[in-house]
């Protein structure tokens, strides 16, 4: 049988792109074995490209059973051995193994980062029969034909073992933390209550929850204090302008009132006009974190959603590899070629041509670097299919950001006129753009407020129409949202660009937090309290960051993985002993919190009938039917009750009906679109429907 080169990729889409790019005629043949796709291409010789499905191997314990801890003995196994619902992986591995039998050359073409390197390594070692030391490596940042061909021609002679070591260590340390601590919590709660509930924590999850709890504590114990602001309305050339008092915050009502009295009915005099020009620098190219924050701010997409969309665009060869922490755009990516290709799209033609007319293209870069990939940039390819609206938005954002970084800074002018009113100063502020620069390229995504002031001169007298006193209160610190939390994790150096979004999602899935403006639930509080009380080291942000740094050092060959693993176990051992010793106490605390969380889940809102009780989803003892009832029923105060649909699931929406102000619930029935239900029988919306 003809021998061939076997290329392993991370995902099926990447396999298809690589095979098509490497095939002489650009038409690789798609074949299937037991439903597993692979591609055959011809170049200098026959090439078979087979995809993985992300990680096909995982870490699991040596011995069976899930009901014990500590566990320090582990091994790498195919995912179907360790995970329920991963049976399809077995077929996948069989196909790869079969294809490896007749291959004489092996190449890993998985994404060039920790995860991709580990995926390729595991397949080459375990599935292809210890081929990891004879395998070569393709390195690329985009799935464009040109770059893939180049990466094949100039492939690296061997795998990047330091990346692999770093990946293995990260997975093993995370597994040790996750399995042991999660089991300790789950087993403690189950042993105390006799009921099972999944509780989890991990090396990064705990410290992340810690930020959220710290913020929640500040918000919940916040006491606002009063202060006052003074504004005035002045008339200049027939137009009214609002001016602000020189002191932004006035601490006492007495002082505020005396200023108002002094300025009332008095004329204003323009004492001074300050005009200042300043440069507004272009933004830096997107690394994953800034793309996720920007997409959250502009479109409200969660970090995980943005990553998924970016990943799809990458697999469509529209943008470069998104899991990067780089803010650099090396000239090797060929700025000019990208812009020329982008200019083929009507919406970018004019902008791209403007940039191409420049004598030199030099991007404004950020400080962050990534040894494996440049910042996220458009490849210049245009979509071969109709993009969904979210995909179109993210692609457009990446394209415009890319163009903006090559542009000149914007030149803005700020103007401050000082108006003297009976010895008190007020400021009239204006702001305008003198030269758009990069703002023109990034226009839909950047807000530049323009306040153009009238023609005024120093010494001019103006009419003060009104002086306004505003009562204000200090505000609690803002709640984190998925975007700002991701930024915080990045700032604190915990988690990786690839895992942060998933960690935030896990906090939601475990019901430790809820809502978009993140609120920590009682369960979240209790879990963190247990961790802080019995194992403060595992939620220490400092220790987590240090461990993170040491794992990064493995990647640079300046730390040994064995040392990191031994130290991780040294931290975990005494912690787990303490948890085991206090299991009953912890179990009681967590079980009560779980019970409260489950009750909280069923609370619909305040009872609109009695105004003091809470409406809850209850079940009739007699009939077993589901309904909404008031908690005050048990005190004999209120007997409000409302029927509910008996099929599907009903979840409180935590918002009120626009028509009647009663709380709303959502009903989900399999196969039907979920709908919002106002259970108020007299809601005007229902009345209208009847007529």
């Amino acid at each position: 049988m003809e021998s061939y080169t076997l290329i392993v990729t991370e995902k099926p889409d990447a396999a298809m792109r690589i095979a098509s790019a490497l095939d002489k005629k650009g038409k690789a043949k798609k074949l299937e074995d037991n439903g597993v796709p692979y591609y055959v291409a011809y170049r200098d010789k026959k090439i078979v490209v087979v995809p993985a499905l992300g990680h096909l191997y995982t870490v699991t314990e040596e011995s069976k059973g899930r009901n014990y801890y500590p566990v320090f003995n582990y091994r790498w196994v195919p995912r179907y051995v360790a995970e329920r619902g991963a049976k399809h992986i077995q077929t996948w591995l069989k196909t790869i193994s079969k294809l490896a039998e007749n291959a004489d050359t092996f190449i890993s073409a998985c994404d060039y980062d920790i995860e991709g390197s580990l995926i390729g390594y595991c397949i080459l070692k375990y599935t292809c029969g210890e081929k990891e030391n004879v395998s070569k490596r393709m390195k690329y940042s985009t799935l464009t034909k040109k770059e893939l061909e180049n990466s094949y021609e100039k492939m690296l002679p061997h795998l990047n073992f330091s990346l692999i070591e770093a990946g293995r260590t990260r997975h093993e340390v995370d597994w040790l933390y996750g399995v042991n601590l999660s089991r300790a919590l789950t087993i403690a709660a189950r042993n105390w209550s006799g009921k099972y509930a999944t509780l989890s924590t991990g090396r990064v999850q705990g410290p992340t929850l810690k930020f959220l709890v710290a913020r929640e504590k500040e918000i919940r114990s916040f006491v606002p204090t009063p202060y006052w602001e003074i504004k005035a309305e002045v008339e200049i050339n027939g137009t009214t302008f609002e001016v602000e008092y020189e002191k932004g915050i006035i601490e006492t009502k007495h002082e505020a009132k005396s200023i108002i009295e002094a300025c009332k009915g008095k004329e204003g005099l323009i004492e001074k006009i300050n005009v200042r020009q300043f440069k507004q620098m272009p933004p830096t190219p997107f690394d994953l974190g800034t793309l996720q924050s920007e997409a959250y701010g502009l479109f409200g997409y969660t970090p995980r959603r943005t990553l998924n969309i970016a990943q799809r665009l990458y697999l469509d060869a529209l943008i470069s590899y998104p899991r990067t922490s780089s803010q650099k755009l090396p000239p090797a990516i060929n700025y000019e070629a990208i812009l020329k290709n982008l200019s083929k799209a009507a919406q970018y033609r004019k902008l791209a041509e403007e940039l191409l007319a420049k004598p030199e293209l030099k991007p404004k870069e950020g400080k962050k670097e990534d040894p494996a990939h440049p910042a996220i940039y458009p490849t210049g390819n245009l979509p071969e299919r109709v993009l969904s609206e979210p995909e179109r938005r993210i692609w457009d954002l990446v394209v415009r950001r890319f163009m903006a970084v090559f542009e000149e800074p914007a030149i803005r002018q700020s103007m401050k006129a000082v108006i003297l009113v009976n010895g008190h100063r007020f400021y009239l502020r204006g702001r305008r753009t003198l030269k758009e620069g990069w703002l023109h390229f990034y226009e839909p995504y950047v807000r530049s407020e323009e306040v153009i002031l009238p023609d005024i001169k120093e010494g001019e007298k103006i009419n003060v129409k009104r002086v306004i006193l505003e009562d204000k209160f200090t505000k609690p610190p803002p709640r984190y949202n998925p975007g700002s939390l991701l930024k915080k994790m990045e700032e604190m150096g915990i988690g990786t660009k690839a895992t942060r979004a998933d960690i935030i999602q896990t906090l939601y899935d475990r019901k430790y937090v809820r809502d978009e403006r993140i609120v920590v639930t009682d369960l979240g509080f209790e879990v963190l309290e247990v961790l802080e009380k019995y194992c403060p080291k595992v939620v220490s942000i400092k220790l987590t960051r240090e461990l993170e740094e040491r794992m990064d050092k493995i990647q640079m060959n300046s730390e040994r993985r064995e040392n990191v693993l031994i130290d991780a176990i040294d931290i975990l051992k005494p912690t787990l002993e303490e948890l085991k010793e206090k299991e009953e106490e912890i179990g009681e605390q967590l079980s009560k919190a779980i019970k409260r969380a489950r009750l909280e889940d069923r609370i619909v809102g305040t009872c609109p009938i009695c105004g003091t009780g809470k409406l809850m989803i209850l079940y009739s003892r007699k009939t077993g039917k589901r309904f909404i009832g008031c908690t005050n029923y048990f005190k004999g105060v209120c007997n409000a009750s409302f029927p509910l649909p008996q099929k599907g699931t009903v979840t409180p929406l935590r918002r009120n009906c626009r028509e009647c102000g009663w709380p709303l619930v959502q009903v989900r029935i399999k196969g039907k679109r979920p709908w919002t239900l106002c259970f108020n029988p007299n809601c005007p919306s229902k009345e209208r429907r009847k007529t």
Binding site: K217, V223, P224, T225, P226, K253
Partner: protein
């Protein structure tokens, strides 16, 4: 001993750790309120109870304190 407001373990002055933090905030911020708007202790507590910016635990403590306002005035 249990917290006078919730079911948690009381750590100081009859409050659990969380409500004690809120209690401390209420005491500290009273000086600012007194200076800025000359509010009495009772007026202050009523104002923060009504204020939507007040945190949940601080409101609970304020509601509890208002019930025992006479004693607290003496203390302060």
């Amino acid at each position: 001993m249990k917290c006078v407001i919730c079911n948690r373990e009381a750590v100081k002055k009859g409050y659990c750790e969380l409500h004690f933090k809120a209690y401390n905030n209420i005491i500290e911020k009273y000086d600012v309120w007194k200076k800025s708007s000359e509010a009495s202790w009772k007026e202050y507590l009523n104002s923060i109870i009504k204020n939507p910016l007040t945190g949940e635990w601080a409101r609970e403590v304020a509601e509890y304190l208002i019930k025992t306002v006479e004693n607290d005035v003496e203390k302060i």
